[in-house]
Amino acid sequence: MRLGGLRYLIKQGWRNMGANRLMTFAGVGVLTACFLITGIAALLSMNVGRVVDHLASLNEIIITVKMDVDDAEAEGYGVQLRALPNVQDAEFISKAAAFDEVKDLLSDYGEGLMDGIDHIFPAKYNVTVQDINYIDETDAQIRALDWVERTYVSNDITSIMLTIRNAVTYGGWGLVIVLAVVSVIVISNTIRLTVFARRREISIMKYVGATNTFIRLPFFVEGMTVGIIAGVLATGIICGVYYLVYEYIRSMYNVWIMSLMDSLIPLGEIWYLVAVGTILLGMLLGGVGTAFSVRKHLKV
């Protein structure tokens, strides 16, 4: 095909968008809406996943060191713990510190309660793990160490966290997939309708001797342009809303929130993912989808 011909077909695609304003508007609207829904669901899911991961990582294995091991020796064993595969960090708590902990805990019950019993408290380690799914295995490895008296894993919290994490991972991404599928159905229905409304025009072109490629190219250009516009719009709206929500949460000034902020994903890290994702998908769905649904009207 000559270059001039190609230029004509591309221009034709754009001219059609103006001539079929209702369809252009409908196409952009539907695509943008679907991108919004799916994009927001994905971002939500990613963030909740990160927050839950963060909370889960706070879950600890508490180790009591045998009474006959002195603080200096016990602190040295930290190297062994940190060398274990799934261990994130191991915080040492000396005998004296452990005593203070309990004393604090019981301070409500009156002064003098704990006098003279400081020698009975063992040293401890608070161990955080990398992957909470393998906390039981890590626990077993720690218990095998000869200087360890016993270990505690809060099973309730572990299972809560695991349940929430799994719910978020499967549920959240499941929702994203369902929304994506629904979006594709809605989008392809819309495209088929817009092409359907112009089926006569398509068939006339065939009768005048136009090849399938010649007819399809302007539709392809048109669909791709609609897709790009929708992608840009969706990126703008998603990023705008995300930024506002992010800033709102940050403005709430709350200890708990502050610790959450670290797990929330800042806009700077994801805006280009959103942009590339929606715009590429827009081009693909719009361009290929349209060119494809023209096909069934070409058989004349």
């Binding site: 095909m1 004509y8 059609n16 001539a19 065939k206 001797g209 136009a210 090849t211 010649f214």
Partner: protein
């Protein structure tokens, strides 16, 4: 890329052998039609409403496929032609459709230009040729109007301009004067005759006996799906 039109320069341009066309629903529109149209002929097809005239043209265009029998256009057997060669066949046929078939979203100019664009002709060429052809059919002033803004006769003439624009070897016209007054009809037929004089094969479907008598060298009459008369060397007296 620019493939040549499929119409070969054979001496028999259109040939139908034992052609039968039964529409879904069971109506037999054509039955056992045998016909040969040679290069450079000017043929009129006459017949009552519903006789099968448009069906005959649709078979030549491969808009419909014959139920049985052979339709050969420009040396090409249309029952064997590949789907993707059909556009190239149609580029060799300038057609005026009975229902005009103008693209409603394009101006008169664009509708005509489109038929040139599909054959990949340079824009400069199109800018010269289209106004010339529109002028030939008397529509110089209506180039920028959309079909919905044209009168019936004007739409018909846009369709005629489109058929003429790329000087195809065969021109087929279904009732090209059905919406046009007698004076203009004669002008249009004279235009077609002139085009025929330089070697173009012309097939015109009409129900206007007078016009046929006046301009034709050959009148084929179809009745109830069968060719009932094929009168050679009749008329032609206008020239």
């Amino acid at each position: 890329m620019a493939k040549k039109p499929i119409i070969a320069d054979s001496s028999v341009m259109i040939s139908l052998t034992k052609v039968k066309k039964v529409y879904p629903g069971g109506h037999t529109a054509l039955d056992n039609v045998n016909l040969e149209i040679r290069r450079g002929e000017f043929v009129f097809v006459l017949g009552h409403s519903g006789a099968g005239k448009s069906t005959f043209l649709k078979l030549i265009l491969r808009e419909e496929v014959a139920t049985s029998g052979r339709v050969v256009v420009g040396g090409r057997d249309l029952s064997r032609i590949r789907q993707r060669d059909i556009p190239y066949l149609r580029r060799g046929l300038g057609v005026v459709f009975q229902d005009f078939r103008l693209i409603p979203s394009m101006t008169a100019f664009e509708n005509v230009a489109f038929a040139m664009r599909v054959t990949n002709i340079a824009e400069r060429e199109i800018k010269k040729r289209v106004p010339y052809v529109l002028n030939l059919v008397g529509l110089a002033g209506k180039a920028r109007n959309y079909p919905a803004e044209l009168s019936g006769g004007e739409q018909q003439r846009v369709a005629l301009a489109r058929a003429l624009v790329h000087s195809p070897p065969i021109i087929i016209a279904d009732e090209p004067t059905g919406n046009i007054d007698p004076e203009l009809s004669v002008e249009i037929m004279e235009l077609l005759k002139a085009i025929n004089m330089v070697g173009t094969t012309v097939v015109v479907v009409t129900h206007e006996h007078d016009l046929a008598q006046r301009f034709s060298e050959r009148i084929i009459t179809i009745d109830h799906g069968a060719v009932v008369a094929d009168d050679q060397t009749k008329g032609g007296g206008a020239f």
